[in-house]
Amino acid sequence: MIKFRKNIWEFANPNNFLSIANKIVPLFLILTIITLSVGLVWGLFFTPEDYRQGSSVKIIFIHVPTAFLAINIYFMMFLASIIWLIRRHHVSLIAAKSAALIGLIMTLSAILTGAIWGKPIWGTYWAWDPRLTSFAILLMFYLGYLSIWQAMKFSDKIGDLSSWLCIVGSIFALLSRYAVFFWDQGLHQGPSLSLDKEENIDNVFYFPLIICIIGFVLLFLTLLLIRIKTEIQKRKINILLNARDG
């Protein structure tokens, strides 16, 4: 049983985090497999064709979740960096570090599926449309954040530097996005999901899409938990080695 904890910051202790993560990773894994397979199978085989886009609309069930994650993982890294800078919780820094690679892959898949989808509908794989450009920008900032971890050895100082890089990157990614949108609204349709029900896509696509998004988020969380666990154990090994060798 997971005991009820009074304070969310207790998760910030690496050992508390490890013990909880060990318990919930299998649960998350099972949930991920169930939701992803249900969502994707529903989306692939049990949805009708769109009257304009034909069967190519089935790409939405991976394009939207990956794009959603690509943006939100960067936002999560931004929050985690701020928490590390203010409250110095190691798990927060490690979470930001481990999320970056997953975010990069999600951005790449969103761009890939978008390009494949764009060819039959717009007649081109890539156009310098504002939304597409924003994703290219996001990709650059992911690469910048990953390269600081690649180039330098893990230490608290590099943690600070990378957190600042992430914060500065978020600000400029947002600014670039608005700069790109200033001139035109582009080919890409508006957001597929919003809280305002009027604008949403049809219900037939809506429910499997929601399940797919939940599935991808669960996939992200599972991977993130495992990566954080690995990273904490790496730190442990380093400390033990240092202690043994003096």
């Binding site: 100082k157 530097l161 600042w164 670039s176 200033f182 001139w183």
Partner: protein, 220 residues
């Protein structure tokens, strides 16, 4: 104030001693020529491409001597002296960025009418483009100080600085290119001008504080 002018004078002297002006202008000219010749071979040299090249070249050359900005002072201990002196680090960063702009971007901007005139942009329009650049490129120098601070004490940080900093130039490059293109076509968009200058001023106002926070990390 006297202290700030003293620092400005000596920072200029340091920058001149490092031959920054010569390097950045030659880099700029070579880049323009290489890309120009390349475009000439495939038969595509319009004013559009020229403007794009100019903006890209100016942003690349403002990263050229950025690595030495704090690294040299950090290695020889002058930065310690600044930290203990009667000014704030923010002021020092401000002065350094201004000096960096004067030594790398200003000479290039003065060169631009000479380059763009023979390639089909009227002298009036190229002077207008120069004015836009004068007002917006200081932000590039200011932003690149963040990269210099991030890679302080890191060997081979030049490549890292380009990776971190070039994407952050995007808002200014996007607006700058579009505005220059509009000017070359004799149309003006006052709103875009205002946003570009606002962006530039915001960067100038905020980056010294961010950079000083990052530099302080290296002191813990």
């Amino acid at each position: 104030m006297k202290l700030n002018f003293h620092l400005l004078k000596y920072e200029l002297l340091f920058a001149l001693a490092n031959k920054g002006i010569l390097l950045s202008t030659s880099f700029f000219i070579i880049l323009i020529l290489i890309v120009g010749i390349g475009f000439g071979q495939i038969g595509e040299s319009s004013e559009k491409t020229l403007l794009a090249i100019i903006w890209i070249a100016i942003s690349l050359s403002s990263l050229l001597s950025i690595k030495t900005m704090f690294q040299e002072d950090f290695d020889d201990g002058t930065l310690d002296l600044y930290v203990l002196s009667n000014t704030s680090i923010e002021t020092i960063i401000f002065i350094k960025s201004i000096v960096h702009w004067i030594t790398t971007n200003l000479p290039i901007i003065i060169l631009i009418p000479l380059i763009s005139f023979p390639l089909g942009i009227t002298i009036y329009h190229s002077i207008l483009i120069c004015l836009v650049m004068l007002l917006s490129t200081p932000a590039l120098s200011f932003i690149s100080t963040i990269g210099a601070a991030l890679t302080l004490g890191e060997k081979g940080g030049n490549l890292l600085i380009s990776i971190f900093i070039l994407p952050t130039f995007l808002p200014i490059i996007i607006f700058g290119m579009k505005i220059s293109l509009l000017i070359a076509n004799s149309t003006y968009d006052i709103m875009a001008h205002l946003i570009l200058f606002a962006l530039s001023l915001i960067c100038i106002a905020i980056t010294p504080f961010i950079t000083s926070l990052i530099i302080k990390i290296h002191y813990t």
